[in-house]
Amino acid sequence: MEEFADLEARQEALVRALVGGAELPEGFDGATVGAASRALLRKRFGEVLHAWPALIAHRAEFLSWAEGRPPRGSLLDGWDFARAYRGVLSRDALAALALREALWRYDGVAARRRRLPAVRVFRRGVAVAGFGRARAWAR
């Protein structure tokens, strides 16, 4: 869209600064755009909780992880975060991750439902999935 090329470039530069950690384009007020960027992060965490309610205890970690990382949608944002923080997740969050990974195959790009039964072991338990159902046991 040649007519709006300049507007398009300016909008993209702003979004990259807001959610992608890029430098703020010239002329903007860093304080107010920074406040907007942090508000976007908080809103994003609220949306991640819809897909991953068990991450409720990890708000601070998520906000710091997501800063500068463009949103991929609540399902994949929560998934990427949970994998990156696997070592420190609460038991509920670990169980949620294991359940999802027992039901779905996620290669970091897209998630697909597994066709065969699967077992996932996590630090404090095990998740088993098959025929569209899954269950986790934790100590």
Partner: protein
């Protein structure tokens, strides 16, 4: 549409509360959620409650042309709920393949106005009902705005024939954060084109007022509801709709907020 009344945004978490409001004048549903419509919402429609699909992802203010699939969905959403109109925002939500995750302000420039007009026309061409446009709450402005918000809106609505969704809380938030008089800002908007109004809560953080939709409606916003009601046309609009999007309080608190809005606008209570 006759005289104004009071409504609340339908959300699955408060569906039972909304269902129990005998005097509910109208409701609104997030248009993108109508890919999987909830039976409880359709029951309201069947009860004769006007339902307005409210889009949040169309990105009308984007430099990129609106996605025809999103426009088609909005039109389907309107048909599904038998909507009197649909609404969207004066905002963009993505650029260069990146999703911002929420509504962002457009620069108030000639180019942005032209892009909005193109996208609004592409949308209204597919809709069987009118479109109302909502100016957003923005925590920041672009560095080189050529128009005031009122002039920008007036020209946008003049050129597209769209209606105005006046978010009273957004007017309050922007005026407070920009150090302006909210009543003067209100008066600069094309109020003769108001289709309905939003009311929502917010809170202060880092010295700025945030329109959170998860906090109580402050007294200042209720006072602005009264100011808006005095300045809007007496009929031809739906009224005031409370938007709540999380941290849902008990039903008695929601009911009290709806009563406070009705009282501020001098309209009948709906609870």
């Amino acid at each position: 549409m006759t005289g104004p009344g009071v409504g609340i945004g339908w959300r699955p978490e408060i569906a039972d509360f909304v269902d129990g409001l005998g005097g509910l004048a109208f409701t609104e549903v997030i248009a993108e959620s109508l890919h999987h419509p909830d039976a409880r919402l359709l029951a309201l429609r069947d009860r004769g409650v006007p339902v307005v699909p409210h889009g949040v992802r169309l990105s009308l203010g984007g430099a990129e042309a609106v996605d025809p699939a999103r426009v088609t969905h909005l039109a389907h959403a309107a048909e599904l709920v038998g909507a009197p109109l649909v609404s969207e925002h004066v905002a963009f939500v993505r650029a260069g393949g990146l999703e911002a995750g929420h509504l962002l302000p457009v620069p108030r420039s000639r180019a942005a106005l032209d892009a909005l007009v193109r996208n609004v026309r592409a949308t209204t061409a597919e809709l069987g009902v009118p479109l109302a446009l909502e100016p957003i709450a923005a925590l920041f402005d672009w560095p080189d705005d050529d128009y005031t918000e009122g002039d920008f809106l007036t020209e946008l609505l003049d050129r597209t024939g769209a209606l105005l969704l006046l978010d009273v809380a957004n007017v309050y938030a922007n005026a407070r954060n920009r150090g302006q008089d909210p009543v003067k800002v209100l008066e600069s908007f094309p109020l003769e084109r108001v289709a309905y109004c939003h009311v929502a809560g917010g809170s202060e953080r880092e010295g700025m007022y945030h329109d959170t939709h998860t906090d109580p409606v402050p007294a200042e916003v209720l006072a602005l509801v009264g100011e808006a009601e005095r300045r809007c046309p007496p009929c031809g609009r739906l009224g005031y709709l409370l938007e709540r999007d999380g941290s849902y309080p008990p039903p008695s608190v929601l009911a009290a907020e709806l009563d406070a809005i009705a009282d501020a606008a001098r309209l009948p209570r709906v609870t």
